[in-house]
């Protein structure tokens, strides 16, 4: 597996530049998690602080919710990465890329990393929104860095998963269908929105191996100032590495050109 730096940089930069030149995609990427905070985050706003402490271990539900929403939004990022690849196939741009000495595996890697990076655009916006909703942050620079790495690893994993599943597809509808199929069970069977201690056993079993749970818990420990479990970061690294490797081999073999 020899990395071609020049095509890598070209395609990765293209992914990032295109995001900032498509105001609508950028707007949706930013607004969607913001809406989560505004609407879902406000659903417990009349609950007394003592009950919030009991239920969520936080005096403000948004403080509890923010790491979870940031984690689940990385699923959407995977869907956008997959749609961008299908657009390249349908408009013929994939052919233009693959007629040059650029491998299918490299195209996959740049799509996965580019989409994951694009997803991190949400991070500063969400932090600003949470501050506007009354959340205060007391994170060390290491905590901030570790939180970003956590989300990046989760995004790489999900982008790779989406891209691998849709490698052969040229149908616009496929990423949406896959997203609907994956997003809901992974989001609700995780500790992203609520603590998992009140889940039934079968949901706890899913939540215990769900990468969204590990990302949400790690992020929550940074926000709430509790001791982080660094093993979660290792687990997310393993998830991202495994998905990236699987996606690389799947795309190298089966990525449809048109």
């Amino acid at each position: 597996m020899k990395l071609q730096w020049s095509p890598f940089w070209g395609l990765y930069s293209r992914e990032i530049l295109r995001t900032f030149r498509n105001p609508f995609v950028l707007l949706i990427t930013i607004v969607q998690p913001f809406m989560w905070l505004a609407f879902f985050g406000s659903s417990f706003s009349l609950l007394p602080a003592s009950e919030l402490e009991t239920l969520f271990g936080a005096s403000n539900y948004i403080q509890f919710l923010l790491p979870g929403v940031l984690s689940t939004s990385m699923l959407t990022v995977g869907m956008f990465g997959s749609m961008s690849t299908i657009q390249d196939k349908r408009f013929g741009f994939m052919k233009r890329i693959l007629i040059t000495p650029t491998s299918k595996g490299l195209v996959f890697v740049t799509k996965a990393l580019g989409s994951a990076t694009r997803g991190l655009v949400q991070f500063p916006v969400m932090i600003a929104a949470a501050i506007a909703f009354g959340v205060s942050f007391h994170l060390s620079p290491l905590d901030w860095f570790a939180w970003i790495v956590t989300l990046m690893l989760l995004a790489i994993g999900f982008c790779s998963l989406f891209l691998a599943i849709t490698a052969r597809s040229t149908d616009w509808q496929t990423p949406g269908v896959v997203s609907n199929f994956i997003t809901m069970p992974l989001m609700f069977a995780s500790a992203a929105l609520f603590g998992s201690s009140h889940f039934p056993t079968w949901m706890q079993d899913i939540s215990n191996v769900n990468p969204i749970t590990f990302s949400a818990l790690l992020g929550r420990s940074f926000v709430l100032g509790t001791a982080p479990n660094w093993a979660y970061l290792g687990y997310l690294g393993l998830f991202a590495g495994t998905m990236l490797t699987i996606g690389y081999f799947v795309s190298s073999r089966w990525l449809a050109v048109e």
């Binding site: 071609q4 020049s6 095509p7 940089w9 070209g10 395609l11 930069s13 293209r14 530049l17 295109r18 030149r21 498509n22 408009f91 013929g92 741009f93 052919k95 233009r96 890329i97 693959l98 007629i99 040059t100 000495p101 650029t102 491998s103 050109v257």
Partner: protein, 330 residues
Amino acid sequence: MTEAAIVVNNLTKIYGSPERGVKALDHVNLTIPKGMVFGLLGPNGAGKTTLIKVLTGITDITEGHGLVAGFDIQLQPMEAKARIGWVAAEVILDDDFTARENLWLQAKLQSLTGWEERAEQLLEYFSLKDRADDKVSHFSTGMRKKLEIALALLHQPSVIFMDEPTIGLDVSTRRMLWDIVTQVHKEFGVTVLLTTHYIEEADALCERIAIIDRGRILAEGTPSELKARVKADIVQLETAEALDSGALAAVPGVQEVRGQGDGWTLRVTSSEEVLPRLFAAIHPDRIRRISVEKPSLETVFLEITGRRIGEDEPIRDVRKFYAQMQRARR
């Protein structure tokens, strides 16, 4: 290494399973010398685009092999791809990028260094310098085509594949593109493999032509050599009432009679000599319409296949045209 730019040996491509799939290329053999504009002429579905896809490494080969710029496209695809340029039937650019950024991306994909000066020269050459920093989505179709050719030339390729480059273009843009292809070939000395189903395009641009139909190469030669194969004129005849083919075949100089009823295609030694005899045999009042074709690539195709280019698949052509137009507008 070989002196030929492209060598295709016994190449077969089947889409789907070998038993029940569609045979797009059927044991194709071709040798295209360096520095030539070579035309692949055939109707839609003949296998032209498939041959380009195979030679550019976009699709696998079922059987046989192909060399491009001296490299086996299956065994050394990356070496071959570093030496080829490509101009698509549809204009394929990144519409979110400017002309200069499209060139930058192409340079990155080809791992080029010191490409900036050549990019500027190409922008100048194709009269795009003034618009180099505009998004290509604002370009006219002609400008987009020019930029696409500039992208194909940026890494100084040995071979450029042009897959029906003028499909869907208006007459003046098509003429402009013909001039560009001729100039590019002359000034950059690059081998061009051009596919087309436009007879006049093949005749105007190509030094040698292969006629392809249903995945098979049926004839190959210079336009003059191909036309010389048809030592006859073609007379198309439509009569007011049904005729007996024997009556037409009996006219001196008529070599072959095809058709029935009131529609006929006659192959004659010389139309100047045969027409007076034909009018003597069939009273002019009985003739509704008559036309004469001197040897052309169209008559060569008719001679070889028994039908005209595009006669079978007008709907596919229209679909391709609209797809191209939609992409050009995006």
